[in-house]
Homo-oligomer: 151 residues x 6
């Protein structure tokens, strides 16, 4: 059976930690849809178009990966994308509890899609979009936290 996973997030911005999760997911699923959430109620640092484009730049040339914006419920995007799985990275206990609640609520709404969890690497555990935004807003250098763009 072909597997298609959705990796949903706001990716504001997409970090080295996210990139590592994608790379691990590609050893597990036939196709991966990176779904960039548009959250009307939340102020983002980067526009959804900037976020989508920067992720496309990281994985360009890899036909298994597509990058798309989405609005509304993640389960609705999963249906549209023909997903068999969702994939999420786990860094902390707080992540885990939040993700467990979301996965169980999603499972009730869309029983055909199972959530699969992958771990951040130890040396990337502390990298989060929140930290990167704080660094960028203060005019700091965030290159240690962000993917290198292939030329």
């Amino acid at each position: 059976m072909k597997t298609t996973a959705v990796f949903p997030g706001s990716f504001d911005p997409f970090t080295l930690g996210h990139q590592a999760i994608v790379e691990k997911a590609l050893l597990l699923f036939d196709e991966l849809a990176i779904a960039v959430g548009v959250n009307a109620g939340k102020q983002s640092l980067f526009t959804v178009d900037e976020r989508v484009q920067s992720i496309k730049d990281v994985f360009k040339g890899d036909a298994r990966v597509r990058v798309e914006p989405y609005e509304g419920l993640t389960v609705d995007y999963c249906k549209k994308a023909g997903a068999t799985h969702m994939v999420r990275g786990l860094r902390t206990v707080a992540d885990f509890e939040q993700e467990r609640l979301m996965a169980q609520a999603n499972k009730l709404m869309l029983p055909s899609v199972e959530t699969v969890f992958l771990l951040a690497s130890p040396e990337q555990t502390f990298i989060s979009s929140t930290v990167v935004r704080d660094v960028l807003k203060s005019g700091g250098d965030a290159s240690n936290f962000l993917p290198e763009i292939k030329p």
Copy 2:
């Protein structure tokens, strides 16, 4: 000694999980006051009147239950309501830590009222007002998460 418990919350909206806590509390206390918090600083999906009314609809006919809006500190409402206890539901570790801090601060401010904790059922652990609001805002079907209204 007659026991009167206050069950405080924002109930935006009141979920199946909240209903289960109330039903368990009614096996423990003589009277239960469901106290619907008005938080001036926070945007709610439902007005406080809508929230109070919908909870009244769930428990109509049960003389042990009253439903009231309140502003300000929960301990001040408890004093006014003649409470002997507060009751709270626990779902997650994050809930527990937050609730422990609140209960201990409340105890310092109002030593005569003790907080009692009840558990969500396993199959309702993932139901939260936040999840329900997300579903409703996206035009989804939240009926799996909400109480049936008695006709």
Copy 3:
């Protein structure tokens, strides 16, 4: 409806923290059975008879409290004791998770009995039977952790 709660534990030994939970429980339940577990597989510091007797000494004269040893499943003891509730103290996140699992398993085996959780006081949170046993084994003074016996 008369409420009867079982407070199960190994109480090896019964600490100031346990005493506080009992006192809070007596404001909530009509009767309380303190059930002292006999765990064949675990080495205890005090015999079950010593543990039962020392708890009886703390609550002597209070007709609402009985203290009994038990073997086997806690739910079986609850049935025998005519319990409507179980009561447990919560100190830490680790406690909470362990207690949630136990309460949910017990609920599946004996649906008529609900578990109610009470908090340790902030200044007693760090008191545990394990700490007291360590102090006693090293010949230290554990009186700060233990109930005063009424003369």
Copy 4:
């Protein structure tokens, strides 16, 4: 690329929760090796042969599943089994932290094998081998916690 996952555990005994993890894993991996750990230092309720046989009985007829005992490091078994992944179930925060440490230590020792985490269902979260052993030792009925054997 063919994926082969190892699901290691002591499975003393194999519960409904373990069965659900296996079923979810079979939607993700081409082959699954259930590896039953022999822990010389720990007393088990069932012999390793009993545990292996009872798991074989659950999945008999499914050629993708093999069940084997192992001793020593899990990473050494993974090498021998040609594993591309390990799979583990997550129930609680305590599980998560323990599993993260193990997965990171295993990754250092065997970088080619990634650990994938799946969630227990909400209504199975409280099922653990420890609970089942307690029930069985007390002569209770554990059938609610155990897989049905196909005739």
Copy 5:
């Protein structure tokens, strides 16, 4: 080697819990800089000038303590202040996880500064600026949570 620690926070307001951390830090470091964060994106109850002044009032006469506002990254303030360490208080598991992420990100950006953690006292664990703000906003009495000002 002379040690200089930075104790960063928003201190909105500075509580008894913060005061206890400072007093413990003064037994450990030669100098302490209390750094009051100016967060442009967040509404505060007290202005940064009020917060700085009220902390100065608490420690006036102690030449080892200085109190300063700062904007931008904490690591940049640490560089400017000649810090050898950062100091943070830990109350809850949620604190710990958040602090660990911050400390690890800060360490990557400024390897010469190590974060040191001190514990709140048990009877102050539940005191947080958030609780104090809630009490003050509701017109309650927060004096149990705040330092006494030396006349």
Copy 6:
């Protein structure tokens, strides 16, 4: 004031993670006593003499460090050693909760000694004596987890 910290543990064996904590502690305290606990009730992999000697080998030539075995309560050793502080490493949430309980109980028994917490580095978070013992018992190579001995 001269500061003397005690770093207590069973160190069975002393890992790279322990070594990092010692190195961080030496930037904070004037003297450090590494106290190797003798736990009569627990089976250890290495004898207390082997553990003391291997730690001495790591820090030989550093006059600020002494390594000693101890029996009984850690607070009693601290008194004997003239300690002003205890130092402990934190890796996980489970560590944190356990350490908080211990530190608070110790503080009640010996108020003059404060516990200070330092973090493991991200890439050493998963290193524990337990993992090392498992590797060694299975005949594996644990050199990635252990300090290099200075020749």
